[in-house]
């Protein structure tokens, strides 16, 4: 049966037979870096195309259908265009911060990739505080946005960046509380332990209604955290031209664009890991035949399938809902999501202590 961990183990054994331990370590780090970067590139191409197709179909349009078969090479053509464009730096801008911001956005997105379990025994860094690490590092992404907004020396950019600051600081709370419900239930911050805790059923099924509420809150909060519509006040193209990346062009803009999609992928991957069982296959109680068939599907396919399901959900939000005003945005967080998730986490704690979950 196909499995990613088989490939990595075989590679490790092959390298160990040829090189000393330190060299094996170095080569493996290099290979992991290359793998992450190429995964990012592929992810960007696929997600941009997916978003354009989904948006087109939801708006009764056809979407890209000229470049390549059924328009599948459209994002390659776009990337080529962005590569040959001039990367301008405005005269009044703070040059260092301006050029550092897109790289910063990218680096933070890359850091988030480390503790995610892509398949059974396939993980860059198995760390015992994986969930904490992710919620800590993902809040850093606001720094790159603030940096870009401040350094551009443009009123639109600054406004967008400030809005984004207010937004991410508020929504971080309810996202954290939603993540905490799963930590309470599974009793661990380790990504692998959380996945293993869902062996006999995903948390969204095992945890009754409180976990479903936590899941809904998590999805709303991460949509806000990744600055996507209906919470795209940082960009808000109808009010602020393009918000924090108004002054960016060429590859620097492309890095921001890529970082946005990679962030969407990562938050969806975390959502899939916490609530939908990560790479665990779908099992129903005692249906042995059914469970056997489900086990036959590789764990990486399960993980990517769940992640893309959540990505589709977030795209569906984007192309259905109108943008919120800044006061509505903060109302939603402080008057609705935060009180609800606080009550919710009490309920979940009671469930976990009394052992009411399956």
């Amino acid at each position: 049966m196909f499995s990613l961990s088989g490939i990595t183990t075989a590679l490790h054994d092959w390298l160990s037979g040829r090189f000393s331990e330190a060299w094996v370590m170095l080569i493996e780090m290099l290979l992991a870096g290359i793998a992450v970067i190429s995964f990012f590139a592929i992810l960007g191409l696929v997600l941009v195309l997916m978003e354009r197709k989904v948006s087109a179909w939801m708006q009764i349009r056809l979407g890209p259908n000229r470049v390549g078969p059924k328009g599948m090479l459209q994002s390659f053509a776009d990337t080529l265009k962005l590569l040959v464009k001039e990367g301008m730096t405005p005269n009044g801008a703070d040059k260092l911060l301006f050029n550092m911001a897109p790289v910063m956005a990218m680096v933070i997105a890359m850091l988030l990739m480390a503790p995610i379990a892509f398949a059974k025994d396939f993980q860059l860094w198995d760390i015992n505080i994986g969930v904490l690490y992710i919620s800590a590092v993902s809040s850093l992404s606001v720094i790159s946005i603030l940096m870009a907004g401040w350094a551009s020396n443009n009123k639109y950019s600054l406004l967008g960046a400030m809005r984004s600051g207010a937004q991410i600081v508020s929504y971080e709370l309810s996202a954290g509380l939603a993540i905490l419900t799963i930590v309470v239930l599974s009793g661990s911050l380790n990504m692998n332990d959380i996945v293993m805790a869902q062996e006999n059923g995903w948390w969204i099924f095992k945890g009754h209604i409180p976990v479903i509420i936590a899941f809904v809150i998590f999805i709303i909060a991460v949509t806000a955290e990744t600055n996507r519509a209906p919470f795209d006040l940082a960009e808000a193209e109808s009010e602020l031209t393009a918000g924090f990346h108004t002054e960016y062009s060429g590859m620097k803009f492309a890095l921001f664009f890529l970082a946005e999609y990679v962030n969407v992928f990562i938050v969806c991957a975390i959502g899939a890991t916490l609530f939908l069982g990560g790479w665990m296959p779908f099992h129903i109680g005692n249906w042995d035949g059914f469970n056997r068939v489900m086990d036959f599907i590789p764990s990486s396919i399960w993980f990517l399938g769940k992640t893309f399901l959540l990505i589709f959900l977030i795209m569906w939000f984007r192309w259905s809902f109108p943008r919120l005003r800044i006061d509505q945005l903060l109302n939603l967080e402080w008057k609705y999501l935060l009180p609800i998730s606080m009550v919710n986490i009490l309920l979940v704690a009671a469930i976990a202590i009394l052992g009411w979950h399956f």
């Binding site: 989904v54 179909w57 939801m58 708006q59 009764i60 349009r61 056809l62 569906w316 939000f317 192309w319 259905s320 809902f321 609705y336």
Partner: protein, 158 residues
């Protein structure tokens, strides 16, 4: 009381969002609803919407008769001087003088397809056509005379 309103507002919000998502989800899964026309490819089978406005034309019947009385209502209604009605006087068989159009000059290059002339016309003499491939090399070709040469007014149109 407050709590009841609070919970009710959450349910209403979720319900209205779900209605919106159901609509876009329906469009996402039903590709037959797509209204995009792939124009140069389907030039032969192009289907334009009923109310598409391409240019102003004056329909004539088989006897080369139109319905225009030369009242200049369209000329007055036009916001940017697109239509110019040049009138003449016909002698009726009874020996009376009657106003009629000599030429109805239509400047397509000035027209914004606002439809006000068609709405203003009391005798439905002009309509909007669905043609839209208007590009020419000489600007003068865009100045059109809407009534056919030798045409006259239809019987019974006052």
């Amino acid at each position: 009381m407050f709590l009841a309103r609070y919970i009710k507002s959450i349910f209403q919000a979720v319900r209205s969002l779900w209605i919106g998502m159901r609509r876009t989800g329906y469009y996402f899964s039903h590709h037959k609803e797509i209204i995009t026309q792939q124009y140069p490819d389907n030039r032969e089978t192009l289907q334009l919407p009923e109310r598409f406005k391409g240019e102003v034309v004056m329909p004539h019947n088989e006897q080369n008769e139109h319905r225009c009385t030369g009242c200049t209502a369209c000329e007055l209604a036009c916001p940017n001087g697109t239509i110019k009605v040049i009138t003449k006087f016909d002698i009726t068989p009874e020996g009376k003088k009657k106003k009629a159009i000599d030429k109805l000059v239509y400047h397509l290059e000035l027209c914004t397809m606002c439809n006000l002339c068609v709405v203003a016309c009391p005798s439905d003499a002009i309509v909007m056509a669905q043609t839209f491939e208007h590009s020419v090399f000489d600007r003068n070709q865009l100045t059109k005379i809407l009534n056919n040469p030798g045409s006259k007014i239809m019987e019974g149109v006052e």
